[in-house]
């Protein structure tokens, strides 16, 4: 695909005897919201982990913006423009919401020990810009009212949103969300999906893992379905919904019976 931002090509990931991903190939076009769905243990999170450099793939390549990601460190991949959230929230618990987001913003900052020690103009400018950006993001996510509180003391819903704000602060081109609405009520889920649409409207490309199939139907442009580490469907929400393999995977019908 000419306009693809990220290409995953023939990706295989094995953990000892377990094959978590098997010859997975898909593309994400610029500006789209791609849903990545599949039953428990299908390999969705593993796919994120390979893309963001947590695991080195057993086979296959990931290409971002025309350049392979192999061999890059995790923080370098983030600086290239891929940011993520975690299925199990992983904030910096004793840091305030603002500080959490500023850590993300620092990915684009250059001040180091020297600049901080002498209090260089760049240090002051970056601190100010980081704060402003963090406050804007918290406001956008609707959680600015508790910006000064420790992440550990925030309600669950705030923590989930804070993770998204922190990821956005790194100024990514591709935002990967791993079940961002897990544990939400249906109303909260709808609200979050609306937010994700607004994030896309700002020009971001989004890769969204979600368990709730009906939820992703409404928000995604395209859906990739994983089952036992293999892609079983890749198409528009309508196509995927009517795909017999997908129905079988979700209803737990054995392959041969489907």
């Amino acid at each position: 695909m000419a306009d693809s931002l990220l290409s995953v090509d023939n990706l295989t990931m094995q953990f000892g005897g377990v094959t978590a991903l098997s010859e997975v190939t898909f593309d994400i076009a610029r500006g789209e919201i791609l849903g990545l769905i599949g039953p428990n243990g299908a390999g969705k999170t593993t796919c994120f982990n390979v893309i963001t450099g947590v695991y080195a793939a057993t086979h296959g390549t990931v290409t971002f913006d025309g350049k392979p990601l192999a061999g890059l460190k995790r923080f370098q991949i983030t600086k290239r423009g891929i940011a993520r959230t975690f299925q199990n929230i992983r904030l910096f618990p004793d840091m305030t919401a603002i500080e959490n987001v500023m850590v993300g913003a620092d990915a684009n900052h250059k001040t180091s020990v020297g600049g901080a020690l002498i209090g260089s103009p760049r240090h002051h400018r970056e601190e100010r810009e980081g704060r402003d950006m963090a406050m804007e993001l918290l406001t956008f996510m609707g959680i600015a009212d508790r910006a000064g509180e420790a992440a550990r003391n925030l309600p669950y819903g705030y923590q989930r949103r804070l993770e998204i704000a922190r990821a956005l602060a790194t100024n990514p081109r591709l935002l990967c969300l791993d079940e961002p609405a897990a544990g939400f009520t249906p109303a909260e889920k709808q609200e979050l999906m609306e937010l994700i649409r607004r994030i896309r409207a700002q020009g971001y490309t989004v890769l969204l893992i979600e368990h709730d199939v009906s939820l992703v139907m409404g928000v995604t442009d395209r859906i990739v379905v994983l089952d036992f580490g293999k892609i079983i469907a890749n198409g528009s929400p309508a196509e995927v919904r009517d795909n017999p393999d997908v129905i079988a995977a979700y209803l737990g019908v054995p392959d041969d019976a489907a």
């Binding site: 004793d94 840091m95 500080e99 402003d132 804007e136 003391n153």
Partner: protein, 373 residues
């Protein structure tokens, strides 16, 4: 449970949200705040005269030893060491069990350059010694900071011992006899650094501490401090948020080593005679105890912890051979009743938030995203 897990357990207790003295001072109007800080600093410079103050004098009394000697030979040095170790252990969350190694490198560099092999002046030797300590931190950190878990603890432990044993066996470092006639600081006006009056050394040490605190605060309130905290809280998440964790851990190590080395030069310049037995493993443990007792990750805690660990054994000299025992019991009691240390780490208070206004030209955060996408 591994050693490093136990350490994480100890240092990852939730920070406190409650306001302490520091927060209350920070909330004060500017004039009141600075007056109070000035008053506090002045009273610190008057410390050699504390024993003459009623009540306070009884409290700080060090029976059998001169209080002046205790604060110059031990307190200022332990405080400086605790400040440096706190960067490594408290801010970046790295367990260093061989910190005495850097302290020894600083002391020995001053000894070698000002007495053993050359006669360079103190003022020239100290920056060199700090640089050498810092380099030793980088050399030790480069291979080890890539490892996780107990490796770092074990390797640093080994480092401290290697430094001591090497010094013991190297003739060019004076072997077990050590190095004597080490250079002392040059006289500054009325401050004469001799053997009769310890006060000039105290003033020098206190001044160095204040300068170090000033710069450490700047680091803490910057991208660097945030990166350290993020590494301590969740190293993997930090890396995935774009923090070059290795680079910042190495900085923590190097800065910690430099401060440890500086403390070593202060010590060697005061006692003017060092030998390998001045740098035992127990000292590393004692330094670590100072940081943990004071409050891991809180600079004021480290200062207090260093001071208490240096002074308390002298306070209890009356107990003779049970002195160490009493000291140990006191430490355990503190840890039972204040498990996060005397001055626990605090959640940062974002004072600017109250006055924050969106910037004039409201840049939609998406602007940048669109630009890159």
């Amino acid at each position: 449970m591994s050693l490093s897990d136990a350490f994480k357990e100890l240092t990852s207790r939730p920070a406190r949200t409650v306001s302490g003295v520091g927060e209350r001072v920070g909330d004060m109007p500017r004039v009141a705040r600075w007056s109070l800080i000035a008053l506090f600093v002045v009273s610190l410079y008057l410390m050699p005269w504390w024993p003459e103050v009623p009540l306070l004098g009884w409290l700080v009394d060090t029976p059998g030893t001169s209080f002046e000697g205790v604060i110059t030979d031990k307190v200022v040095i332990y405080v400086l060491v605790a400040l440096g170790l706190n960067v490594v252990v408290g801010l970046a969350g790295l367990l260093d069990l061989g910190y005495v190694g850097f302290y020894a490198v600083g002391a020995y560099t001053l000894g070698v350059l000002s007495s053993q092999h050359a006669n360079l002046p103190w003022l020239l030797c100290v920056p060199i010694a700090v640089a050498v300590s810092m380099i030793s931190g980088v050399v030790l950190g480069t291979p080890t900071l890539r490892l996780r878990g107990d490796y770092l603890a074990i390797v640093t432990l080994g480092f401290g011992e290697i430094i001591r044993i090497s010094a013991n066996n190297a003739d060019w470092l004076g072997g077990s006899r050590g190095i004597s006639k080490i250079a002392k600081p040059p006289n500054i006006g009325p401050l004469k650094f001799g053997i009769l009056d310890a006060k000039p050394y105290f003033f020098l040490g206190l001044t160095i501490i204040i300068v170090v605190v000033f710069f450490l605060r700047r680091l803490e309130h910057s991208r660097v401090g945030r990166a350290w905290n993020a590494v301590r809280e969740d190293e993997d998440a930090a890396e995935l948020m774009g923090v070059n964790t290795f680079k910042f851990k190495l900085w923590a190590f190097a800065i910690g080593a430099a401060i440890g080395g500086l403390a070593g030069t202060l010590y060697a310049g005061k006692v003017r005679f060092i030998n390998p037995s001045n740098f035992p493993l127990q000292l590393s443990i004692l330094f670590l105890a100072a940081v943990v007792l004071g409050g891991t990750g809180n600079m004021w805690g480290a200062i207090l912890g260093g001071a208490v660990v240096a002074w308390m054994p002298e306070r209890f000299r009356n107990f003779a051979d049970k002195r160490v025992f009493v000291f140990g019991v006191a430490l355990v009691l503190v840890m039972v009743f204040r498990p996060q240390g005397l001055i626990p780490r605090k959640i940062r208070k974002e004072r600017w938030l109250a006055n924050w206004k969106p910037p004039q030209r409201t840049p939609q955060f998406g602007e940048t995203g669109t630009g890159r996408g």
